[in-house]
């Protein structure tokens, strides 16, 4: 844990360095959740504002789980709003669905899926698809634990759940992702 910054200017520079170092991964994480870069940018900006306003005065050693906690909270809020919006839209779009052609709506069983895309060399895109297919909590557990490198306790603090829940989410996430990716070796 680094020493606390000596002055306000030092502290501001330290906060900026921390945010600059985390922002790209934060954007990608938000993008995996929203599937949209503009929405992801909004979430990251909100998270930065929330972090600076509420937590930047805390010791630097606490910043990482606190920042991811704010982003996690914003992401969950976004999903809640999407669910409510989806409910309203589905109510209004019932008539449209009734007119949909059942043949075009049927799943394409010949579609290669993320595994085949990975075999074609688009590994990054396949991984992104696999991550997006995960449930929100499993994806967050995987990204915070495996990519961001938080330990179990810090991941639990960021996700506001127990350490046991983190382990369960991570176990399931790894099992799902492995299924996608091991087939491409």
């Amino acid at each position: 844990m680094p020493a606390a910054p000596a002055t306000s200017a030092d502290e501001s520079h330290a906060v900026e360095r921390f945010l600059r170092e985390a922002e790209r991964r934060a954007l990608r994480m938000a993008e995996f959740s929203t599937g949209n870069r503009a929405e992801a940018l909004d979430l990251v900006q909100d998270a930065m504002f929330g972090f600076v306003r509420h937590y930047s005065a805390r010791p630097a050693g606490e910043w990482s789980p606190l920042f991811w906690r704010v982003l996690d909270s914003r992401t969950n809020d976004w999903h809640r709003r999407q669910r409510v919006r989806g409910r309203w839209l589905s109510w209004f779009e019932r008539d449209d669905e009734a007119d949909e052609d059942p043949i075009t709506a049927a799943p394409d069983l010949g579609e290669p899926g993320p595994l085949a895309r990975l075999a074609d060399g688009e590994a990054s895109k396949a991984l992104e698809l696999a991550l997006r297919a995960l449930p929100l909590r499993q994806r967050q557990a995987f990204l915070l634990r495996m990519w961001e490198g938080l330990d179990v306790a810090a991941t639990a603090a960021a996700m506001r759940c127990s350490e046991g829940s983190v382990k369960t989410h991570l176990f399931r996430a790894l099992a799902s992702l492995r299924k996608y990716l091991e087939a491409h070796r």
Binding site: S12, E23, L41, F49, M146, W147, D151, L181
Partner: protein, 126 residues
């Protein structure tokens, strides 16, 4: 500050390492427009730390200016009610003039005599 170095606690599997490498690449490959947006967002967030003091000072300045305006307006509307009213300021000046001259002091002390003398002269003329 960053817990990313905590590699020893990760499951040591090749496919996870590959996945993490791919994720790092995707974060490093963000386009310039996106990086610019991130930079603006960061600067805007950090700007919250700076205005705390200046906003407080600006607020105090506004309050001070408003009080000065109210005070000036009140003095203009009610000048006589001011504790620094004119009679208090002028009377000492008159007294000072009277005390400054010996002639004037004699005049004030013998005012009755000069009034009687003036009346005698008028009777004599009449």
């Amino acid at each position: 500050m960053n817990n990313r170095l905590n590699e020893s606690s990760r499951p040591n599997e090749l496919w996870i390492e590959r996945a993490v490498a791919l994720l790092d690449e995707s974060a490093d490959a963000l386009d310039a427009a996106t990086l610019s947006s991130l930079n603006r967002a960061r600067q805007a967030a950090l700007a919250q730390r700076r205005p705390r003091l200046s906003a407080w000072m600006m607020g105090s300045g506004f309050v001070g200016a408003a009080l000065a305006l109210v005070l000036a307006f009140g003095l203009r509307q009610h000048p006589a009610s001011s504790p620094m009213s004119a009679p208090v300021a002028i009377e000492p000046v008159v007294d000072a003039d009277a005390l400054a001259s010996d002639d004037n002091l004699d005049l004030y002390e013998n005012l009755d005599f000069y009034a009687w003398l003036d009346a005698q002269q008028q009777d004599g003329n009449g």
